[in-house]
Symmetry: C2
Subunit: 344 residues, 2 copies
């Protein structure tokens, strides 16, 4: 079996994607085909035995074979014309912009490439933290209270300090601040508005329990262990960056069977049918024994491999249960009717 | 000025798009470049003087020049290699799947093509009628009450008859039924579930007033007239199909100045900032002097040209105010830091 790993792209989280992609080499047992999308959105075929972070930062990858994304696959030009890069399915390992905002899924759908990863709508809903909240509430999963502010709008807070301020549409803690008083508010908003025209503001609850659960659905749900992530106040980008290269199993959260079930049930309410075909990680809060969704990571760092008992098998199972798109009949029913009425 | 018209695609509304595209020939004064995406998602350059509906239904278009969508544009192969199709900007005139579900916008963004039309997130929110409701409520625009049903879920109605049943994700009245009693429910749900795994159910309010307003924002809002659409119970696909070829001005709704302002204000709440770069048509209900959003049409039939005083100027103004994407710096900050720490 050959698995293509698509990574990089025009994203603030480009480097995280590079690290995620390299991490997967250690945990997937199949032959891997590495397809790199550079910041300029050119595609390259990177030799699997030569993949190092430095190959990208140095620009050395530009000597690798360039690929064209077209109908039915990625193609490499050669003296005969072109050759299709063969693989059984592709893993979308692009974080943030392009990968998680719906762009890459749209390309893969349109060009008829079989892939694991959230589809366009699922990406948009999970990439936008406000939409995540609206969606979760609609399907019976609690979220913390919040307010939004638009860039240029008057900066009036309806929540009590401390609050956490996030750009509505980024991941990996970029642009996020904890604000403890009015004094710090303006700067935190300026930072967040650098990345998005809208910010989301939530209460920052000291000592709130956080639990991460990854999973997917093949013919049945496959859940990871539940992790209680290490954190200081919260992981900033530098710390998360190092975190993304993880390939070692972490410790399971010490919670009751009952709480495990509650968290898994919340995951299911969010997952189906929207996230069919993808392996996602949901980050939950628990407060007074109630489960709240914090974030849905549609393309989690290194695909959360370190949370699974058998990540390789999980991916293969999922690849056999990818969603079908509704077939559109290739018909000209109305035009034919009109033409025949006109006697044409 | 050259304007490209992108139309067709793998959509239940493919034919409507063909008709919309042809209609635009009569109302746009610039040179038009017609780019057809067929049901199989191959692109063709259609000679503007030869564009007729029959060219597509007969398959004759396959003799036209095939195009490749790549970085920076559409390209035509020739004996020298390839030639870029030149235009100033593109109009997305693909209705339904591909065009309104975020796919085409994602492609155009990714391949760096300047276009008028909703961006990915705006497309997903307006294509999905449930998300439209959640979004509208969040930003202070009323919607009718509703319930959703998933395919396979028990068919229990919480609303009173009559109700209107819609697939959550299609446009152009496809799969929509009015259900007056329990007796008709199953069949209507079966029809809707053919097109989507989720349906949206709303009260059907006899004689409710419906008003359509199209518009966009350049340096200021440009609004169309407000139309009170002709309807029997509601327009079905056959009637709407004919409707899409309209290029003649319609009659303005006879409503008070105050109601015009109310409707325009509701439009503004929905439009900005999400729909920047697009010309949309919002279909409102008015009940007891209150405005409710029914649907947002991100790519309205024939771009609602027949509602505008000067459609050609509107499009040109809008083309000068397309949204910029946030620039991502092409940096390897973390990888460089680690490499330098390692002395590499």
């Amino acid at each position: 079996m050959k698995i293509a790993i698509l990574f990089g792209a025009n994203s603030f989280e480009h480097e995280i994607s590079v690290v995620s992609a390299i991490a997967l080499k250690k945990v997937l047992k199949s032959e891997l085909i590495y397809i790199f999308c550079d910041y300029s959105r050119d595609f390259y075929l990177i030799p699997t035995d030569k993949i190092t972070a430095k190959r990208f930062s140095s620009g050395e990858y530009k000597k690798d074979k360039k690929l064209d994304l077209k109908k039915d696959g990625f193609f490499q030009k050669n003296f005969m014309g072109e050759k299709k890069i063969e693989f059984d399915f592709l893993l979308n390992v692009i974080h943030g912009k392009d990968g998680e905002d719906g762009t890459i899924p749209a390309l893969l759908n349109f060009f008829n490439i079989k892939y694991i990863g959230p589809r366009v709508e699922a990406s948009v809903i999970s990439f936008n933290k406000l939409l995540t909240k609206l969606y979760a509430k609609e399907f019976g999963v609690k979220t913390l209270e919040y307010q939004t502010l638009q860039r240029g709008e008057e900066r009036v807070l309806s929540l009590k300090y401390p609050v956490i301020i996030k750009p509505t549409r980024l991941g990996s803690s970029i642009g996020i601040s904890i604000v403890k008083s009015q004094y710090e508010l303006d700067y935190a908003l300026d930072v967040a508005f650098e990345f998005d025209s809208q910010v989301l503001i939530e209460p920052f609850i000291e000592g709130i329990k956080e639990y991460n659960l990854a999973g997917c659905k093949s013919d049945k749900y496959i859940f990871s262990i539940i992790e209680e992530p290490q954190k200081e106040e919260f992981l900033d980008f530098d710390k998360k960056y190092l975190d993304f290269s993880r390939t070692k199993r972490v410790n399971e959260a010490q919670i009751s069977e009952d709480m495990v079930k509650k968290i898994e049930n919340s995951f299911k309410k969010l997952y189906e049918p929207l996230f069919a075909g993808s392996l996602i990680r949901c980050d939950f809060f628990v407060l007074n024994d109630e489960v709240y969704i914090n974030e849905i990571n549609p393309v989690p760092g290194s695909l959360a491999n370190y949370l699974f008992d058998d990540f390789d098998k999980t991916i293969k199972d999922l690849s056999n249960h990818l969603p079908l798109t509704i077939a559109v009949p290739h018909l000209y029913r109305y035009i034919d009717k009109i033409n025949s009425a006109k006697g044409k």
